[in-house]
């Protein structure tokens, strides 16, 4: 705990006096009181954060030099882009030129100096100091992030890309980016968050995103995680949805030492729809944890959740999906499915769907399966001369494609497909096969 106090002292000393500074102090006091969650905490039953306490973190003060190979990892999406390098805003790698009218995309450090509502507490409205101990820590430590505002009726022609890039450093770095998005009435946008790194420096990124969807707004949210081997991530997305708004998430978690995400959706008015789709792909000793909570706070609200887990070696996965239907939330629909594929005897998946329904006129379903590959299909492929290992690889990719096929952003789709095919153990290596097919089309 002393290490956190030292780190906070640095942040606090440098902070300018004012409401932010007083909130930091309150937030850190809250965090100190609660501490890093332990497996005794129900929400952290399967995920032990003790290495957060063991590892000594510092915070990057200036932008690191970014190598060409690091830069090559950034998805080319023709997007407006904010890049944080080890948590520090990089003007060179970012692109915020030619923004349409009624659109704001700004690094948080800049926005905080003039955005009245932001200063008035936009950040923290959904994910507050009292949400949990790590959110309190985020309030205490946050230095940078992004503010996105898209005005009424604006349909963004290009995606917005937010990149958390970790670079090589002699010691482990920590950062607490905060994202706030306000999607105006009838607006439409796509946000692509990318967590990326290739150096085993053991950085920690804890990102909290708060998304506000006004009436009939549509937000498609990609979270693509390809962190470095030893990196740690804890993410929280909190979405507030008004009438007829649609939130669609594609959460593509492709590894990291420990990657935990919480998605919370508040469906607050009729017609609000949330769709959470995800893929967890773990290898080695990776630990991937997905928690979701969908609150049906109003009648005629809709949610569906579809997660696939693929675990190899000694990887461990967690899926905990909770749906809560309030007493007067009649005629809602909530569907949840989690299917998992274990490629090794030592891989482990803990899956727990939870439904709390206090209304009586609802359509809800949930299902989970955990299994191995279909041996009949393996045989059918082998009977055509396909090597058993390639057959298993193809079928694994096929399992992932059940989620991936809905990903319409080609650069994301192709990256994930090639990554899974290529990242399977060498005997499963299908990279050539897949890429050639993409060329042939």
């Amino acid at each position: 705990m002393n290490a956190w106090a030292d780190l906070f002292q640095q942040v606090n000393d440098e902070a300018t006096p004012g409401w932010l500074k007083s909130r930091r102090i309150a937030a850190f006091a809250r965090f100190e009181h609660l501490g890093i969650p332990t497996p005794r905490d129900e929400d952290w039953k399967y995920t032990d954060l003790k290495r957060l306490n063991k590892r000594q973190f510092s915070m990057a003060q200036t932008e690191a030099t970014v190598s060409h190979t690091d830069q090559a990892e950034l998805l080319d999406l023709n997007a407006w882009r904010i890049v944080l390098v080890n948590g520090v805003f990089s003007p060179d790698l970012s692109d915020l030129s030619d923004l349409p009218n009624q659109v704001t995309i700004e690094p948080l450090s800049q926005a905080i100096t003039h955005d009245q509502e932001l200063a008035g507490g936009l950040v923290g409205r959904l994910a507050a100091i009292d949400t949990d101990s790590l959110t309190a820590l985020s309030h205490a430590m946050a230095q940078e992030g992004a503010l996105i505002r898209v005005g009424s009726g604006v349909v963004l022609p290009r995606p917005i890309q937010l990149v958390y890039l970790s670079t090589e450093h002699e010691s482990a770095l920590a950062s607490w980016p905060r994202i706030a998005v306000v999607a105006g009435p009838n607006s439409q946008m796509t946000i692509v968050e990318q967590l990326v790194g290739q150096h085993a420096s053991g950085h920690y990124t804890q990102r909290v995103a708060e998304l506000f969807l006004e009436g009939n707004a549509q937000l498609t949210h990609y979270l693509l995680q390809t962190p470095a081997e030893k990196d740690l991530w804890v993410g929280r997305v909190h979405v507030e949805q008004k009438r007829d708004s649609r939130y669609q998430a594609f959460h593509l978690n492709l590894g990291g030492a420990l990657v935990r995400d919480d998605f919370v959706c508040e469906l607050n008015a009729r017609g609000a729809t949330a769709s959470l789709n995800g893929l967890l792909f773990g290898q080695g000793r990776q630990h991937l944890d997905m928690h979701s909570k969908v609150n049906h706070n109003a009648p005629n609200t809709y949610s569906d959740e579809n997660y696939k887990g693929i675990l190899n070696d000694r990887a461990r996965g967690v899926f905990n999906g909770k749906v809560i239907v309030k007493r007067d939330s009649q005629q809602i629909e909530a569907h949840q499915n989690n299917a998992n594929l274990l490629l090794s005897d030592q891989a482990e998946m803990d899956t727990k769907p939870e439904l709390e329904i206090y209304a009586d006129d609802v359509k809800c379903s949930h299902g989970t399966t955990t299994g191995q590959l279909d041996e009949n299909a393996v045989f059918a492929l082998r009977a055509r001369g396909v090597d058993e290992s390639v057959a298993r690889g193809l079928l694994t990719l096929a399992f992932a494609n059940q989620v991936l096929d809905q990903v319409t952003l080609d650069a994301v789709h192709d990256t994930v497909e090639a990554r899974i095919a290529g990242a399977l153990p060498e005997r499963f290596n299908l990279k050539g096969l897949v890429l050639e097919d993409q060329e042939a089309q």
């Binding site: 041996e375 096929a398 992932a400």
Partner: protein, 250 residues
């Protein structure tokens, strides 16, 4: 090409094949007919190498090699390939992946380089046209949501692309309407050559009107009880199987 000698096989402890002998030479088309429960499906499963079938006696030689010691994929690469009675749906695996992976596996086994993408696409388009299949099939998942007829066409498409030395067709006519049967039969007939053998396993004589075999065998109670030329099919059509079974028993 294929020599089966005194084959005995068990499924779940029950003996199904009881001393089956069969020889197929290059260029020949053989049909095996027989009543339900005779062991037709067991024979095809043993030839393809499916798990759960225990060979207790006898041997199978494919081009002089002991087939029973070969892995499933090695049998296919050596040129023995089975068109399934019930083709498996493989969600998420596109037909084009299967065809390409299978063709390249065969080429690798022969020491040839992988086929170039343009040559592969040309070959596949040609065979698709032959099977009267739309090229959208290539990017559909293997057999997923296919009708019975589409699944069978897809099996023959794979044969046309992979060109096995011995094609074994297990009840390829089941579930086909007359138009689909013609297309499937035309596909099989186009495979006939001096170097290739075909073994059809069927319950119905109808198929043999479209793919005329050189030799017909009747399989009953795990053994070949009668072998003849194509006229045997007509006799079976007229008299059923009972007279053969009785003759065999006496």
């Amino acid at each position: 090409m294929l020599e089966i000698k005194g084959l005995h096989a068990k499924v779940e402890g029950n003996e199904i094949l009881k001393g089956l002998d069969l020889t197929i030479n290059p260029g020949e088309v053989h049909a095996i007919m027989g009543p339900n429960g005779a062991g037709k499906s067991t024979l095809s499963a043993v030839l393809a190498g499916r798990d759960g079938y225990e060979v207790t006696a006898g041997e199978i030689l494919f081009e002089g090699d002991n087939l029973l010691e070969m892995e499933v994929e090695d049998r296919a690469r050596a040129g023995l390939m089975l068109a399934f009675q019930y083709p498996v749906e493989i969600p998420g695996v596109k037909n084009v992946y299967l065809l390409k992976a299978a063709l390249n596996a065969q080429r690798a086994a022969r020491g040839e380089a992988e086929i170039e993408a343009p040559a592969f696409m040309k070959l596949v388009r040609e065979k698709l046209a032959q099977m009267k299949m739309d090229k959208s099939f290539l990017h559909r998942a293997v057999n997923e949501g296919f009708s019975g007829g589409e699944k069978k066409r897809n099996e023959i498409l794979q044969m046309l692309v992979l060109e096995p030395k011995l094609a074994i067709l297990d009840e390829i006519d089941s579930g086909l309407d007359i138009d689909a049967l013609r297309v499937v039969a035309d596909g099989v007939n186009s495979l006939r050559s001096e170097q290739r053998g075909v073994l059809m396993i069927t319950h119905y004589q109808r198929l043999l009107d479209y793919i005329v075999p050189d030799v017909i065998h009747v399989l009953a109670d795990g053994r070949i009880v009668k072998t003849g030329d194509k006229s045997l099919a007509l006799e079976l059509e007229a008299r059923g199987y009972d007279w053969l079974l009785e003759a065999d028993a006496s």
